[in-house]
Symmetry: C2
């Protein structure tokens, strides 16, 4: 039961409902373990152990594994998605939309460091065990708002016509998740200090905003002569 304290790492959260707390502890433990080892490799008993509870308690709150997966997606992944996509509104400047999303993705990951590896293993992967659930919760209306803003920018020759507007959105998501999921391993491989969130953000924003810009002579040079 020592794990209970972890819950109160967040300041100012009084114990109001022990029943609810146990459930939250289990979801938190599951979310962390899924990120570390994958859903398939995580048993109820491992989750119980991490939460400082017993296997029967996991079964008490989540009769089947499916219910636990639902809870992780609805109660952990969805708030992250809402935070990132919430402020996206039609009529925005595409570069500002992209820069804002990269910033919120990185800030969101700071609060939810389990997101990148889970996103790569369980959502993007064919056979990923949260894939169906997570894909249903992607706000495709917002994805389309960003893609449409880019399309309009291309039509008015303000933005790079070589880019696929929809793929820009997935390139952005992918770059953030990928780089955040691999900061540690590259630091080990290259014997360096792990890059900061700011350094990663600067790189990704620089790449995306630079890539979005329309530069007729250079685009022509690159696409006609060099390739």
């Amino acid at each position: 039961m020592k794990r209970r304290t972890q819950k109160f790492d967040k300041p100012g959260r009084p114990v109001t409902n022990p029943d609810r707390d146990a459930r939250e502890l289990l979801i938190t433990a599951a979310t962390e373990l899924f990120a570390e080892h994958g859903v398939a490799a995580t048993s109820f008993s491992t989750i119980a152990k991490r939460a400082g509870l017993t296997s029967p308690m996991v079964h008490y709150y989540f009769a089947e594994r499916e219910q636990l997966l639902d809870a992780v997606v609805e109660e952990r992944l969805c708030p992250f998605i809402d935070y990132v996509w919430g402020p996206v509104k039609p009529g925005g400047d595409p570069a500002e939309l992209i820069a804002g999303m990269v910033m919120r993705l990185l800030r969101g990951i700071e609060q939810a460091p389990w997101v990148p590896s889970t996103w790569m293993r369980e959502i993007l992967n064919e056979g990923g065990l949260l894939r169906g659930r997570a894909l249903r919760r992607i706000p495709f209306d917002k994805v389309r708002i960003v893609a449409e803003a880019i399309r309009e920018g291309q039509a008015s020759q303000a933005l790079n016509p070589e880019l696929n507007p929809l793929l820009v959105v997935f390139s952005m998501l992918g770059l953030v998740m990928l780089h955040m999921a691999t900061i540690k391993i590259w630091a080990e491989v290259f014997h360096r200090k792990p890059l900061s969130r700011q350094a990663v953000g600067r790189h990704i924003t620089g790449l995306l905003l630079g890539g979005l810009r329309h530069s007729p002579t250079l685009t022509q040079k690159n696409s006609r002569t060099k390739r």
Copy 2:
């Protein structure tokens, strides 16, 4: 990338060395299954079945699973890596180096369609079961050649100073693997035809080459005013 197996994947090829052939069939089956379901979820008996052989035959050629994983990395992944990185030599133009690598990555994946999902699941993922083996085979001398070319371009103010040269290399690899691994799922989600390799290549090259360009006024505008 001239691998014996590839010959025997094609129907109607005569069997010249049954012993060697069975081994190749097993490695091919394992490589495909690892990409489809992951290493952990693939048993010797599934591999045998896919290869049209028996479990004891798998054990005959690969006494332990570790030996089979070695063979997949050495005899399937390494030729891919060599094909992609081989032509990278010091002194090249960074934009041409990047465009050439994107092109070879996409061509290589056409021959070895199992690479993106295996790379994402078993190499990039923490706990990926080919991670250690694969990381040892990344040609870091070549990675440094590309990073150094970008660094020099930045020093002479020809290239975007916002980018991290090493991360450019991993952004490039990541974008190709990510987009190639997810072509099918996005086509399903958006009810569209899957994008062609050419379309993906155009997008990625456009994004990377556009992102690499140095555009002082715009960089300033984006990094100082907008963020």
